[in-house]
Amino acid sequence: MPVDKTMHILVVDDYNTMRRIIRNLLKQLGFDNVEEASDGADAFKKLQEKPAGLVISDWNMEPMTGLELLKLVRAHPTLKNTPFIMVTAESKPENVIAAKQAGVSNYIVKPFNAETLKTKMISVIGEF
């Protein structure tokens, strides 16, 4: 089943420029229905109001980190199966393991390019 490019995507990062970059990359890939959140708490509130087909989240944010957001999402009865890609500068193996144990769908380390984002998105939501 082809991916619906009108799907709602939530981009979470405390750095406005990074959110802008990811939004632009998604637009180049054909995804225009993009919402932004500035940290985990803001993102979780928005997800509860409007579930997303994909969450792309940074890790190191305050007051709620991307890992904490992921754990909340995976514990939520209706959000628990939301595809979740961590896009972060945290690159130690412990981080990858902790994210995987928390249920991350895929993991992108910053800096990254459009091709990497596309590849990881395909692996999570399917070909487009």
């Binding site: 945290e90 412990e94 981080n95 393991i97 995987k100 993991y107 380390v109 910053k110 990254f112 990497t116």
Partner: protein, 227 residues
């Protein structure tokens, strides 16, 4: 405090300092702490309120010196914080380098846009030239941030020097109750090559690694595939 008391304390202090100097050749703050403890032992709370007060104050001062030494020693020997200042300076150097590289890329792109726009003519060409000029103006941030960061790097170097001097002042011997293995004790002994997750998620917040020290996307993909 009575004159006799003052004389007694003074004699004890002087005798102790001379003895320490003769034995060790120099006196550190830790030695001074030890001398204070010795002085406290010459006082007896049973002798009255003044003795008791002075005894308590001297003991408190000695403990303060010991605690301060533990803190200074922990800064020098804690595996995480030992390189913290050097690490911070290196990260800031990387910031300067990477913002410089990014700025050059932005300006290269702006040059390309200007070259492509030349010959378009009319208002469109002017709009494009104006926009690219604003890009160049904005790129001056790199120079300003570089100067600010250099100031911070110098400040960190100054702090590191002061910590070194404080450590010299306290002497090089570790305090008896030093507890420098914060994370190691919390996580238990790990076998070589074993990845041990910290107990607190907050300890996973390390930020970007220095060039050549991080884990590549390819290695992360392999690790994920194996989990």
């Amino acid at each position: 405090m009575s004159n006799d008391m003052q004389s007694k304390l003074g004699r004890t202090l002087l005798t102790s300092m001379i003895s320490a100097r003769e034995q060790k050749g120099d006196i550190t703050l830790e030695d001074v702490g030890g001398i204070f403890m010795k002085m406290a032992s010459t006082l007896s709370p049973a002798n009255g309120l003044v003795d008791q007060f002075v005894h308590q104050e001297i003991a408190r001062l000695a403990k303060y010196i010991t605690d301060a030494k533990q803190e200074i020693f922990a800064i020098q020997t804690n595996e995480k914080s030992e390189d913290a200042i050097l690490d911070a300076s290196q990260h800031l150097d990387e910031v300067i380098k990477s913002t410089e590289e990014a700025t050059n890329t932005i300006m290269d792109a702006a040059d390309a846009v200007q070259n492509a726009a030349s010959g378009v003519g009319g208002e469109k060409e002017q709009q494009i030239m104006d926009a690219t000029t604003r890009i160049y103006d904005a790129c001056t941030f790199q120079d300003i941030t570089g100067q600010r960061i250099t100031k911070v790097i110098r400040l960190l170097a100054s702090i590191e020097e002061r910590i070194g001097k404080l450590n010299d002042l306290f002497g090089s011997e570790p305090p008896i109750a030093a507890n420098s293995d914060v994370n190691g004790a919390a996580n238990g002994a790990a076998k070589a090559g074993e990845i041990v997750l910290p107990k607190d998620d907050k300890d996973l917040l390390n930020g970007p690694q220095l060039s050549g020290q991080g884990t590549s996307q390819a290695d992360i993909d392999k690790l994920l595939a194996g989990l």
